[in-house]
Amino acid sequence: MNGIMLVDAYYVYWREMKRLSRQKTRIVMSVIQPVVWLVLMGNMMTGLTNNPFAARMIGADSYLDFMTPGIMIMSALFGSVFGGVSIIWDRQTGFLNKMLAAPISRTAIPLGKMAGIASQAALQVIVIGIIALLLGVEFATGPAGFLLALVIIILFSFGVSGISLSLATILKTHESLFAVMNFVTLPMMFASNAIFPKAAMPSWLELIATYNPLSHAVTPIRTLIVQGWVWDRIINGLVVMALFALVMIIVSSRQFKRSVG
């Protein structure tokens, strides 16, 4: 990693952010979607916490507290999972070749794109945080806890978009990338502790949920909201997410370099 590479990555990132800022529908939808989830799902499920047995499994006073980190991660997941599309699109419009014909670091291209996707996820989570606050969800750890949650989300987004970008170097059309990523997204979502507590799962699903990287992102954020600074639960998730992000940055930039010769 060197200075020039970061400068190059900055310009790739700058382009991604400019593009994002022009896509009004995408911005509006990325706000509406989590609101709908929070308000609908949150209210539908409040009955759960009235049941003392279910409340114990959820481990929070309100289902909304339990659900908010799940919605945050879900938004980051949905936003990042199609990150590879932009590489496919650039390849098809010839923009990728234009970048590659310039003396820029090859690593800068996936890195800048990942940073763009992660920023988008972070912005979305800030919006969700505000809406959740209006609905009465407060971080037990206060603003510092929220910032730490943002860091976790960003790392998670780097990891997921890294998977998507790596696949995009192999799958050359949007359609095939959509098909594969759609196949991955929902199972990843439901086989985690994002929406349902692990305690309510059959043991085989619980096993999957335990190793699902999504759960490792949800647990520390949920801890920050519901319990407070319980460091051993927070550190565990933070380390797993940092490793996830790092590994996927390395894998995707290697894949990318290989795919462009």
């Binding site: 020039i4 400068v7 190059d8 900055y10 310009y11 700058w14 382009r15 400019k18 593009r19 022009r22 896509q23 098809q92 419009t93 010839g94 923009f95 070749n97 234009k98 970048m99 590659l100 014909a101 310039a102 003396p103 820029i104 050359k172 059309t173 462009v260 010769g261």
Partner: protein
């Protein structure tokens, strides 16, 4: 002065066994416009992709401004500009933003970049639309923006891959006016591929004709045309003429003193002669006793198109291209037309 492009035995074989470029060797001199002609699939784009470091050659060597394309790709990238066929500008950004991005990729200092962007927008006539999104541009405007982006870092060598593909005649002329103007003011070398032979004829100092991955000939347009020694008489025999009759007729025409060359392409016979107008009656006299009738005959001055047909044995035509290339072509056409 050493040549700016020096290619030695460059070869590209794709997995699956297709040899797109087969052992080509040529040079391009500093300051000239060098034209690369050939049908789709002849190896033009593959050659450009290798020279612009986008594709690794299977074997052979190439140097650009003295830099090895394999060992010193980044040095090569900083001295070349690349304008692909794809109209590779970002529709979501404004014209100015596209150029700013390009300036960033080439590590131009901010102040310098601003000045050059303003200057180039002026040169390509996009000043008024500079802060509109590229989405709203016409095909010709996009192309001009794309070319401006290729010029931003003042490359010594500019690759223009089919710069006028799909544009209407007026826009094509306009693009060429800009390009030759820019070439004169910056003194750079241009490496050009095109389908339009008349363009190559007027613009290029040297022309290479490439077919099936092999360079068939390299020369100035004047020399290429002069190789024909004058005019071209094209004959078409009447339907129903038998193979033997035809062969006999061709043989006796070839024996004539006024005929310097004869070639058969499909059902057309091309006769190269110093004086076409006088040759026609002589040819008719010769073949009359053979009892073959002629359906049509034309006489014309040679064009580069004729050179092309003579060298490759066919007209510039579209060939089957792979799925990826055709997808890109469709996207490109959509954007050119909008």
């Amino acid at each position: 002065m050493p040549p700016i492009v020096e290619v030695n035995g460059l070869t590209k074989r794709f997995p699956g066994g297709i040899t797109a470029v087969n052992n080509i060797t040529f040079q391009v001199h500093e300051g000239e416009i060098f034209g690369f002609l050939g049908p789709n699939g002849a190896g033009k784009s593959t050659t450009i992709m290798m020279l612009t470091t986008l594709l690794r050659p299977t074997s052979g060597r190439a140097h650009i401004a003295g830099f090895d394309i394999i060992k010193q790709p980044n040095q090569v990238r900083s001295v070349i500009g690349y304008v692909s066929q794809d109209l590779a500008v970002d529709d979501n950004l404004t014209g100015r933003e596209n150029l700013r991005l390009q300036a960033g990729f080439y590590h131009l200092p901010a102040r310098e970049a601003r000045a050059r962007i303003a200057e180039l927008l002026d040169l390509v006539g996009l000043n008024e639309r500079a802060d509109f999104r590229v989405e709203t541009y016409s095909g010709g405007m996009r192309k001009r923006l794309d070319i401006a982006a290729g010029l931003l870092h003042r490359p010594r060598l500019l690759f223009l891959d089919e710069p006028t593909l799909g544009l209407d005649i007026q826009t094509r002329r306009e693009i060429w006016r800009y390009v030759t103007g820019l070439q004169q003011s910056f003194g750079m070398t241009i490496f050009l591929t095109t389908h339009y032979l008349e363009e190559a004829d007027v613009l290029c100092d040297h022309i290479a004709i490439i077919d099936q991955g092999v360079i068939k000939t390299i020369d100035t347009p004047g020399h290429l045309k002069a190789q024909f020694g004058g005019d071209i008489v094209t004959l078409r025999f009447a339907p129903g003429t038998s193979q033997e009759q035809e062969a006999l007729a061709l043989e006796s025409i070839a024996r004539l003193d006024v005929v310097s060359n004869i070639q058969k392409t499909g059902d057309e016979v091309m006769i190269i002669t110093p004086d076409g107008d006088r040759t026609v009656p002589v040819v008719f006299e010769t073949i009359q006793p053979l009892d073959v009738s002629v359906q049509s005959v034309t006489v014309k001055r040679p064009s580069l198109d004729d050179v092309y047909v003579a060298v490759t044995g066919r007209h510039l035509r579209d060939e089957v291209i792979d799925a990826e290339a055709s997808r890109r072509a469709r996207i490109r056409m959509r954007r050119v037309k909008s």
